[in-house]
Amino acid sequence: MTGPDQRGRFGRYGGQYIPETLMAAVEELAAAFHAAHEDEAFAREFEYLSRTFSGRPTPVYRADRLTDQAGGAEIWFKREDLCHTGAHKINNALGQVLLARRMGKQRIIAETGAGQHGVAVATVCAKFGLQCEVFMGVDDMARQAVNVYKMQLLGATVTPVESGSKTLKDATNEAIRDWVTNVRSTHYVIGSAVGPHPYPLMVREFQSVIGREARAQMLTETGRLPTAVVACVGGGSNAIGIFAPFYDDPVRLIGVEAAGRGLNSGAHAASITGGRPGVLHGSFSYLLQDEDGQVMPTHSVSAGLDYPGVGPEHAFLNDQHRAEYVSVTDEQALAAFHQTSRLEGIIPALESSHAIAHAMPLAAELAAKDIVLVNLSGRGDKDLDIVRGSSGG
């Protein structure tokens, strides 16, 4: 299970549903990515900067008090929250910007929801002296104001997106429109495992450092593989990054989507558990859409999960029953946020709180010899205002 095929398909999912203006660019990108992937010098530079700039490897950590609270399996965290810029997003940002430099692109654009991907891209662009423009929905700019300021401090231009739902989906539309216009000079760093081929593949490869490290670390620390690996899924980049190195192991892989105010409320962002296949942003995958094929507005307390689509590899893993997809409400995620802060001394991102919220009852069902490994994809500093404003506190 190491797809995609030559045409960028994971089974029936994926592909390249893009305007003709971008076709040559994605072909060039696929060729450059394959060449870089074969090039040991590229791998060495990526590894060196991951270590010295991003702060890798991140540790795995046994969450003792959450384990006691659940009263079943051991709960462990992969600490991506300790990465430079506060989330796993730096892995992909670093990889893609290194690739853009190899391709001679001087200008970098990105979309962002919670702002974590935008901050990561702005950070790497500052390091390399590249021009950077980040598209962000105005609603997200309001709820993630600190990240907007961070991007500006790092020298990036943050362009407000007023269209549509004013969140991640529309920021992605605007980034694609910019790319269509400036494709010769510009590389578009997509932040999740979505988009046309080769993006889902590329993002998985840059993020799978998470799973490779975690697998080896769990063997070192516990002498065995986890029973289950749990990660939140918006577009699905942290999940695919921790899942992929476990594909051939007898390990359950569980993706947790955002159920918002509940799957029956219509106000959620659970594409696999609540949607059906369609085409958005260049690939065929599960999508929240109405009967007429119009993309539906989404809701999640977590801006990073507030997206109507999902990476095509997740759609494939779901249909193959290699991974399970479940969902967690805003309320459950907020409760897990508080619990983790108080019991572990770790303030998790609201995105990652969704994974923890599922891991707790799962651990309770399992035996003491079992291990549940949660990808703690980011830290919660950016979410303090949202949590303070919610009733959960």
Partner: protein, 263 residues
């Protein structure tokens, strides 16, 4: 011979550039489209492209984003667009094409959509997020219902990409005049001329230029080189300036576009 092929054959014999007018179905009002099609056809449009609105039109600039939102808020659906097309067909014999993104077609069902479009009097389809490499299923459905399926070439297209579009297209080849999204522009990008020449090396199909076309000067510059132009955002902008009487705006705009360029 298809209605599209017959129209281009006639215009070629007359040495005239085809003008294809684009209208967002359901803009500026849910029931406006049939009368606007009639007005456009009477005012010199040689064919009409009917845009079925989509929530996320990522090849489109501000104008078509805005008209799509208005149409969707007014309740436009694929089924209603088919009804509008049927009513429009009753007013004119010019070729009618649907332009929409792939997802509404997928949701309706590829074969069901093609059958319904053909029954409603539609002659061809334009799908801007469907490159030739992903088009096998829609091609089968279009062929079975005698719909033409148009593909794009862009200033950034590789020679291989141009060849693929020319091989895949029926009806005509859509030459994108700018590296960018749709929207009226003051000047025609000179880069479109070598693009037209490339297309001619691979196909005898008509080449129609769109994106940014807004003025008589643009038509004059393409006379004798392209087979036609598509005018979309500039026409919709004209409607937006006077939405209470859109038919008059459409007629006036198309007549002025056909007039000699100002000197």
């Amino acid at each position: 011979m298809s209605r599209i092929a017959a129209t281009f054959a006639r215009l070629r014999a007359e040495r005239r550039l085809a003008v294809i007018a684009y209208l967002t179905v359901g803009y500026p009002r849910p029931d406006a489209t049939p009368s606007l099609v009639e007005a456009a056809a009477r005012s010199g449009a040689d064919a009409i492209e009917l845009g079925i609105p989509f929530s996320d039109p990522l090849a489109d600039g501000r104008t078509i984003q805005a008209t799509s939102q208005v149409a969707l808020k007014g309740g436009m659906t694929v089924a209603r667009a088919l009804e509008a097309a049927r009513a429009a067909r009753a007013t004119t014999d010019v070729p009618l094409l649907f332009m929409t993104y792939l997802n509404p077609i997928l949701a309706f069902g590829l074969e069901r959509f093609c059958r319904a479009a053909s029954d409603a009097g539609i002659d061809g389809l334009i799908v801007p997020d469907l490159p030739p490499t992903e088009s096998a299923d829609l091609r089968r459905a279009a062929d079975a219902t005698k719909l033409d399926l148009v593909f794009f070439v862009a200033p950034t297209s590789s020679e291989v990409g141009i060849e693929a579009a020319c091989r895949a297209a029926t009806g005509f080849v859509y030459g994108i005049a700018v590296t960018g999204v749709t929207g009226a522009r003051a000047h025609l990008d000179e880069g479109v001329l070598p693009l037209i020449a490339s297309v001619r090396r691979h196909t005898t199909l008509p080449v129609v230029v769109g994106f940014g076309i807004s003025k008589p000067e643009h038509l004059a510059a393409l006379e004798g080189l392209a087979d036609g132009v598509i005018v979309a955002s500039a026409l919709l902008d004209a409607i937006a300036r006077s939405p209470q009487d859109p038919a008059t705006q459409v007629s006036r705009f198309l007549r002025e576009l056909r007039s000699a360029p100002a000197r």
